[in-house]
Amino acid sequence: MNRIEGRDKVTGRARYAYEYPADDVAYAYPVQSPVARGTITSFDALGALAMPGVIAVLSSAEPPELGPDASPELALFQGREVAYHGQIVAAIVAETLEAARAAEKELRISYQAEPHDVRLRPDHPGLYAPDHVNPNFPTDTEQGDVTAGLAAAAFSVDATYTTPAMHNNPMEPHAAMAVWDSAGALTIYDSTQGPSADRDTIAQALGLPPERVRVVSPHVGGGFGSKGTTRPHAIVAALAARAACRPVKVALTRQQMFDVTGYRTPTIQRLRLGADGDGRLTALVHDVVEQSSTLVEFAEQTATPSRVMYAAPALRTTHRLVRLDVPTPSWMRAPGECPGMFALESAIDELAIAAGLDPVELRIRNEPGTEPESGLPFSSRNLVGCLHEGARRFGWEHRDPRPGIRREGRWLIGTGVAASTYPARRRPSQATATVHNGGFVVRIAAADIGTGARTALTRIAAQALDTSADRVRVELGDSALPAASLAGGSMGTSSWGSAVVKACEAMRKDGQTGHADTTEDVNADGGFARHAFGAQFVEVRVDPLTGEVRVPRLLGVFAVGRVIDETLARSQLIGGMTMGLGMALMEETVMDEGSGSFLNHDLAQYHIAACADVQDIDAAWISEEDAHLNPMGAKGIGEIGIVGTAAAVANAVYHATGRRVRDLPITPAKLLD
């Protein structure tokens, strides 16, 4: 079954947020602060307002009315304080985008700049323990005696791993068009991972009851977390449309996206592992240092995978956060697991080498029976199966573990393995199912951001209705539809599918229509540790003279419960691994300390994997039954692909060269010094 919206996407008919026709539309261009910390001391828009085509200028000089509970990043144009470089301090509304942009030079904004602090370091005096880490996990955990465990170890690793700031960079820039009607209700065509939440947040920011706001978002050009929370472009559009009394479109430039759409915090992670003579862990300590802005506390749950992965009688994890004069980090694909597993899976590899054990074998020896930190039983866990199957497919047997001994021409060749994990949970959602014209219509305010949700939900509904997919139509991407949770946290299909199945079942009973709300079912989810697992195998080639790294083979084998649609799943897993490849070899947002700004803020300087970087990447899964998840028995797959990739690559680079790189990305410079 092909993607339902495929024809629309390949013919250019699918419309994204910026692309809806509207009469008399105007354009707004956000203006950003060039200082990282300080105060606006004066603001003069007269010159800008006099420019041809300019309709209005929004700023704190005349604070627009907002709701009392607008979140700090959305409370635009209220105060004069600047919290980070690139913060939106004004917006120019004009007849054309060219006119709006050209008027920026005529704005006279004066700043009293203050010294800024933008550097994350492990000894920063401002480090503190937040109340919890995202979404609601304890900041620190400890069980057993780690000091004794480390002291008693026959083999140990004590290493620090660092990951840089990274940016989601979906291909579609954040964009919105806001249209107010004469009754003061707002329709906003937005690019969002969740129309319901977006509607609620926009309404809250504007001080409107939610019923007065409608978010329309049938097609979204990627998000990867950056469109999971409402972004300021939507508020700019709404305020500009209100000021201009016309529909207004806003699209962030690629450069602007780097400051105001979130990013993954850099991390500094210390891993201490101890193992006995058989390679069984005696202690595992995972300490994380990371950052947030001064505006919002965002605490990435980086060490949480260490609470899940391996059996260790002594286990300690900590997170420390410092608030810097930087933009607010936010979700980026697999928050927590992604950076945390780079460190953990690299450290495990180093332990295997220290202990003289095969890295697959080491992991198998430390397979836990229950979730290590909580003691909960796993709803299902087949990491070992993934390791075995992956090893078999990849040709891992007979691997000579000695580093630096395989060479072909100018290339050193190495292989590496790393495990992946991601939670498999669900959130409450609502759905309706209705008989219609000889078929069925399913309605839910889900979002298809490229995951294939439309198609997956069609299949789920068809199965629940015991009918063929071509008799089912799924409507999503609109907050006027039954409220649904976000496309995020790998919880989309599990959350929406649960509601859709329930609605279909209700419809079958009723004969005409059914409605479902899974809140109670979801609240009753408990008693198990629910995670997906996987194993990733990588072959790398490294030219030691130039530092170039190529990845001819990358294989991921996953245990993700029941796979709803094989084509969609394979694409999603490979997509995640492709992003992981970028993370391993090239992605890094550079913070320029002098200006306190993200320096390489475009797609020429921030490198994501290009087509030539991607050779043989493949994904497979082993069968897994799990009755404790949702009616489909499915685990989310959107994020697990990225989780193990970077460590697998780093481990392979070590195997190829004998050089252990603990600081991502693995660029030529790091292999040449």
């Binding site: 919206e5 495929g6 024809r7 994204y16 490229g450 999603q572 997509g575 020429a604 994501i608 991607v614």
Partner: protein
Amino acid sequence: MGEITLRVNGTPRSLNVDSRTSLLDLLREHLGLTGSKNGCDHGQCGACTVLIDGRRANSCLALAVAQDGCDVTTVEGLAGEETLHPLQAAFIERDAFQCGYCTPGQLCSAAGMLDEAGPSAVTEDLASDPALTAEEIRERMSGNLCRCGAYVNIVAAVSEVAAAGGRAASDTAAAGASR
């Protein structure tokens, strides 16, 4: 401002344009052809790729005012009356897209690329007009970024069409993705 006349998907269009307007914005904002996408506005991602006089180009870097007399083909102009372009059909069959935002650019770029004989940066023998192996296609399509990571399937789709057009190598790179 400048008065220009250009053919867009075969239809002559005459417009008065602000000299600052890119061809991309002309297509999207003035002609309602929103198929071509703006991903970066600086020629760094390829989402805006169209065919100008039959050659693939980044419409975000092409000033509209400089395209007077040109022939522009966008994704909306790839399909025939009744049937999809072979690349469009292959993209659907091979699941060569996810969010779809880079897709129009990928399609126009691939269409242009298939007409580009001659070597690439990965071609060993400069004198040859090489067959489009997977490696050649990957290099030639590197001007089209895809954050969803659909490259594996994009290469399979393009390989399939290249083979059908007689340009693929005998190693049937197209088969590589049908695992």
